[in-house]
Symmetry: C2
Subunit: 127 residues, 2 copies
DNA sequence: TTGCGTGCAAAGGTTTTGCATGGCA
DNA sequence: TGCCATGCAAAACCTTTGCACGCAA
């Protein structure tokens, strides 16, 4: 079990931004001067291996991004390509869709790692 | 307009594997001795910019992968995390789902870049 | 002493880029 | 000649790794 302050600091940071998927580069910047780069990467990897953070790749920023979401295994997510915000799909329609994929297409959908990309309401109204 | 043989060779290769998302490393290997690495990357990027190939990141292989799909803007895709096979979701349920996301969640879903991850029938029966 | 988290620097691996060359119009 | 695709090597970039140090049990 990991118990250092650094872990808590990083986790707190992600908890504060639960609705965001945060690029590694931003985490590095956030803790620059407080922790070494290697330490941050090691922490992020550890948290991901423990399934506390979820990791996916941000093609625009060309780096991984991480998200804290305690119950993400059981629902799908929308992620805004513009602002990085995450929406958790807990509705019936999503469940129906996942079930359909499973039953009709014989495809075991991985809700945790699937990221449904698009533009959120706020970002599309800005444009 | 790009008109070299190399372009055609690469495009033919992808057309032969339309149902697959192919990692850059595999493309490099395929054309090793025929084209330079830089040339291949340049071709892949050009084809992606022209929207002829679709690009996404493969976290397991730690490289980009590309797929030829002429009509992928208008439907969702399932991609098998195990074998890389792509399934094109042209069914009504998928359309309904996309519509639901738009209407109820005010989220403009990007069908082209969204990859629904999971395990396909064949791969799950192997396990 | 032992174990482990940490910093630092170097390495790793994919992808990009600078530059020179050669073909073709 | 001029343009552009190409090869080669180096650079760029994020990420990982090796190693040594220092703290705590």
């Amino acid at each position: 079990m990991i118990q250092t302050n650094f872990n808590q600091m990083i986790l707190d940071y992600f908890k504060k931004h639960q609705e965001q998927s945060i690029p590694s580069l931003k985490v590095l910047e956030e803790f620059r001067g407080q922790m070494n780069k290697a330490t941050i990467y090691r922490k992020l990897n550890a948290l991901e291996e423990q399934k506390i953070l979820r990791k996916n790749y941000n093609m625009e920023k060309k780096c991984y991004e991480y998200q804290y979401c305690p119950e993400c295994k059981n629902h799908l997510h929308l992620i805004c390509k513009s602002c990085g915000k995450i929406l958790h799909l807990n509705c019936e329609s999503a469940k129906t869709f996942v079930q359909h994929i499973s039953l009709e297409h014989q495809f075991l959908l991985d809700q945790e790692s699937t990221m449904i990309l698009g533009i959120c309401k706020e970002c599309s109204s800005h444009a």
